[in-house]
């Protein structure tokens, strides 16, 4: 048997898309027995479950608490549609928030809090692992997000007590960023209107009407505050 054929046949088995019986019919039996060969399907599945449950820890807590049986479904469905090979296991989770949102839109089986929490965890990880450098780093070191739920409070509360109920929506805009100042920790910042306007200006975005009325002094002050907080670099 050629190695190419071996790999073509073993791939769907390892990713849980065909059974050990099917693979042994096509490739021949393992000298170690079917149960031991099947253990590789279990091990690979375990790896994906572990990556997602540890990276998106609060999502895992809420799903296993409030939706019995759903978590394994999410893991296997995400694996089926998200066929990537990142060297960093956490980057396997890049599309998980969008996956949760699309599934909710289609089936409505859970709250939008799950996709917001997933996005928050992913942004936090990406910010933490962003390369050091003196750039603004939008969508790499610095993430601007508008969440409907208070995600930071939820994550902290669930870590202390997994029975904590999900609070009512409290829409807010926040920055998730790795500070430009030592020790370069990941921080959260809830911006004021002038700070938001200053940040939009830094990105070259047109200001919405509600922010366009701010005067230049307010914008300068907002910009200075963001630089002082390590959100933006002094000059670009």
């Amino acid at each position: 048997m050629s190695l190419d054929r071996f790999y073509a046949e073993i791939t769907p088995f390892l990713f849980g898309e065909s059974s050990v019986d099917a693979i042994e019919q096509r490739l021949g039996a393992s000298a170690s027995g079917s149960d031991n060969l099947d253990f590789y399907r279990v091990l690979v599945g375990r790896n994906f479950d572990r990556i997602l449950s540890e990276l998106f820890v609060s999502v895992h807590t809420l799903v296993t608490r409030d939706h019995p049986g759903l978590w394994p479904q999410l893991v296997s469905d995400y694996l089926r549609i998200n066929q990537t090979a990142p060297r960093d296991p956490n980057l396997y989770g890049l599309a998980f928030s969008d996956f949760l949102a699309a599934r909710r839109a289609e089936r409505g089986e859970y709250s939008a809090v799950l996709e917001e929490l997933a996005d928050y965890h992913m942004c936090s990880y990406l910010a933490a692992s962003a390369p050091a450098g003196e750039t603004d780093g939008f969508e790499a070191r610095l993430f601007v997000r508008g969440y409907t739920f208070p995600v930071t409070k939820i994550v902290k509360a669930l870590a202390l007590d997994r029975a904590t109920p999900v609070p009512e929506p409290q829409p807010a805009t926040m920055f998730i960023y790795r500070s430009l100042h030592p020790p370069h920790a990941v921080r959260i910042h809830w911006p004021t209107a002038p700070q938001l306007a200053a940040l939009a200006g830094r990105q070259g975005l047109a200001l919405p009407a509600s922010l366009a009325q701010l005067d230049a002094d307010a914008l300068d002050h907002g910009l200075a505050q963001l630089i002082a907080a390590g959100v933006l670099c002094p000059a670009v």
């Binding site: 050629s2 190695l3 071996f6 791939t11 390892l14 990713f15 393992s30 590789y40 091990l43 396997y92």
Partner: protein
């Protein structure tokens, strides 16, 4: 900090994602970056596992055994040579723990590992715990399995703990090295001589003292071998 460490100690890099026996082409952009890092830390060689991990652009995040056959030997050895050229330094392959022989295997583990190492003309990273785990899981004698491997090519040794899960031992790097593995390690050091040794402990991580105690045990085995040879008047 990395540069400061490299000035003070020799540093080696150990990979888990090369998928050296796998079907996907080696990523030369990644290899160029890796070579820069290895040059920066002045690593004398590079190590990864004799396995596959990625298939058709999908990664399993695991170290999977190749089918033990001639086709896999030729394929893997050619890729090891390609890797050595790209990194401009020798490659050492680690014998992995495996829980099942893949279908279409025709060789035993020792013959397969030896054939790859010989045809690739590379080094062996000898994982003694993996030898023990494989012997136990496949009803083999650990010492016999050990000496079927090309131990004379070993440039580094790994020691680790494992756990029992159902009918099999799992190499999980989450426990102290067991007595049987220490005995195998002693056998290697006595017959082969001193070899740089690493304690792998990366799950259920204990206090640092517990890991350092394991390193001291390894050091004591090497020291005893050297003293015994001095006592016998051997260099």
């Amino acid at each position: 900090m990395l540069d400061a460490c490299a000035e003070r100690w020799p540093i080696l890099a150990h990979g888990v994602s090369m998928s050296i026996g796998g079907p996907d082409p080696l990523d030369h952009e990644y290899l160029a970056a890796l070579r820069q890092l290895l040059d920066r830390i002045d690593a004398p060689f590079y190590t990864d596992h004799l396995c596959f991990a990625t298939l058709g652009g999908r990664t399993t995040f695991d170290l999977l055994p190749l089918p033990f056959n001639e086709a896999a030997v030729r394929h893997t050895a050619a890729r090891v040579r390609e890797l050595a050229d790209a990194l401009d330094r020798p490659i050492a392959l680690e014998n992995i723990s495996y829980y099942a022989q893949m279908p279409s295997s025709e060789l035993d583990e020792g013959a397969f590992v030896s054939a790859v190492i010989e045809e690739a003309d590379c080094l062996l990273l000898l994982d003694v715990n993996n030898v023990f785990v494989n012997a136990r899981n496949h009803d083999l004698d650990p010492s016999e399995l050990l000496w079927q491997l090309p131990v004379e090519r070993a440039c580094q040794i790994h020691l680790a703990g494992h756990k029992l899960e159902g009918p099999r031992l799992l190499d999980n790097h989450g426990a102290p090295v067991c007595d049987e593995v220490w005995a195998l390690y002693r056998e290697v050091i006595e017959r082969r001589g001193p070899c740089p040794t690493l304690i792998e402990w990366d799950t259920q991580i204990p206090a640092l003292d517990a890991v350092l105690d394991q390193a001291d045990l390894a050091r004591a085995i090497i020291d005893k071998r050297q003293l015994d040879r001095l006592d016998r008047g051997q260099a």
